[in-house]
Amino acid sequence: MGHDSLDATATRLRRDILKMLYLCQSGHPGGSLSCVEILEGLYYRTMRVDPARPAWEDRDRLVLSKGHACPALYAVLADLGFFPREDLWRLRQVDSHLQGHPDMTKTPGVDVNTGSLGQGLSVAVGLALAAKHKRKDYRVYAVVGDGEVQEGMIWEAAMAASHYKLDNLVVLLDHNGLQIDGPNEEVMGLGDIVAKFSAFGFDCEEVDGHDAEAVAAAAGRRAEGRPRFIRCRTVKGKGVSFMEGAAGWHGKPMNAQEYETAMKELGGGQDV
């Protein structure tokens, strides 16, 4: 950790994500690749965590509310030493602790189960409220998808976060513009999403979601008495030319040829 630049780390994480997904021939490449720098900025710069003590009470919490992107989270957790990197290659296998969607009862470092979209942010609200209740100063970061924010629960959570003045909660939107059935604006338009969170009482900011330092800086800021919302502008499938901006790569397995091409674009060699 911290021994190379964030750019080099991001490339390494992307390679691990692709290898994991190629080996299990299922899972979600597009949304995993779009949130690499968001998770990187949080875990390598902003958050207070200790890989040796995954259950440390005072740690900051990360809720990957868009749980299908967990290959990105697993790559980060392995890189930080929460569990051996070799475990990654057993993703989604019948005897693996790495489930298709994050499982706090199986994987060290996973704070909250997600996968059923919309629920994670509400759990994050509960974690943040509990921190206030227990007079703890840890912070809670929730990463949500732009399709995910169509769920009504997101807005119930947003209202509660503001009502309870959760200034220890940061919501990061992976705004890649795509969901399964196509662009957000064709499936169910989000409108001005920043204005919406702002109207719900959030302190809002926008960043380049592929600039890990910018994400980290934005996530580190606090607004007294208000939850924070960061719109991270991202590209779905980021880093692999044929996946970038392609809704079809939401949840499609790569064939051998595609895998080889993708790995080449990320520095060559297949490492299988």
Partner: protein
């Protein structure tokens, strides 16, 4: 036997066919049209297709609104998010008023596989079975899936069609009867009767083949309708075979096994066993690995039959 096809493709194709015959059919989805295969209907009839985005609860209540306006809505998403997330919407806005809404919910059961326990609905039949006015179809192959869609359109009231994800071979024929609420005997036997539903029908036939080689004659019945339940057939089978086994890709609580247990209780002394998921959540793995781990293979079915016969 004949063509192998994913049941969700069969579902999507049936909607297209039904849509051609009936202009009142509208199809709703929640950002899973490319997974539930309602995308086939969308491509053919874009002005009768409505995507609600990731908003299952909203979609179910909106479906009730379409039904109240004389239309025939089919709403689709994954089985867990439809019957689970939107349970109370189905219960109150749809079933309570017997609204004419159909739910074709895909990716049911353990056979979702790698996505893991968060996506494997092992309780959806139970959830829908306790709701009054609900009809539940669990088709076993592509041909039966098509029949279920057309039968649902004829019923006045809510119908849940449980659509599994895997590609399955066709085991019934176009002229195999599909009468809602009537169990179909696919294979005659004499020693034991296997009552199977959905993907387990094919596994039961394989088990019956294996048992035949050992001299045990196992009848196989296809329970395509879980509600209303064909207790007449079950009581007659209890009388005739004296030994019954249920097999389902669902919890043994609240599904087919429960329906048979409720039928037999106090009415029959037949020997009876249930195969299904024993009050556990699933986890990630290939469907075949999971069927092995949860005891839902032809081998497991055959040993249960032997335990009943022996």
């Amino acid at each position: 036997m004949s063509e192998a096809k994913s049941l969700r493709v069969a579902y999507g194709e049936a909607l297209v066919e039904l849509g051609a015959a009936n202009e009142r059919v509208v199809v709703l989805d929640a950002d899973l049209a490319h997974a539930t295969m309602t995308s086939l209907f969308q491509a053919k009839y874009p002005d009768r297709f409505y995507n609600f985005g990731l908003a299952e609860a909203n979609m179910m209540c909106a479906a009730a609104g379409f039904a109240h306006s004389g239309l025939l809505p089919f709403a689709s998403t994954f089985a867990l998010f439809g019957t689970g997330r939107a349970y109370e919407q189905i219960r109150n806005s749809v079933a309570y008023v017997n609204a004419n809404v159909k739910f074709g919910l895909s990716h049911s059961g353990l056979s979702v596989g790698e996505d893991g326990g968060s996506h494997q609905s092992v309780e959806d039949i139970a959830l829908m079975r306790v709701v009054p006015n609900m009809t539940i179809f669990v088709p076993c192959d592509p041909v039966e899936t098509r029949k279920a869609v057309f039968a649902a359109a004829e019923i006045d009231g809510p119908v849940y069609i449980r659509v599994a994800r895997p590609v399955v071979e066709t085991i019934t024929a176009p002229d195999t009867p599909f009468v809602p609420g009537r169990i179909v005997l696919l294979r005659e036997g004499s020693d034991v009767c296997i009552l199977a539903t959905g993907l387990m029908v094919k596994e039961a036939l394989k088990a019956s083949d294996a048992l035949a080689r050992e001299g045990i004659r196992a009848a196989v019945a296809d329970v395509h309708t879980i509600k209303p339940f064909d207790s007449e057939f079950v009581l007659a089978a209890a009388e005739k075979y004296g030994r019954l086994l249920t097999v389902e890709e669902h919890s043994v609580i609240g599904g087919l096994g429960s329906a048979v247990a409720e039928t037999l209780a106090g009415a029959s002394a037949a020997k009876f066993r249930r195969l299904g998921i024993r009050d556990k959540f699933g986890y990630s793995g290939k469907p075949a690995d999971l069927f092995e781990a949860f005891g839902l293979t032809p081998g497991h079915i055959a040993s249960e039959c032997k335990a009943l016969v022996g």
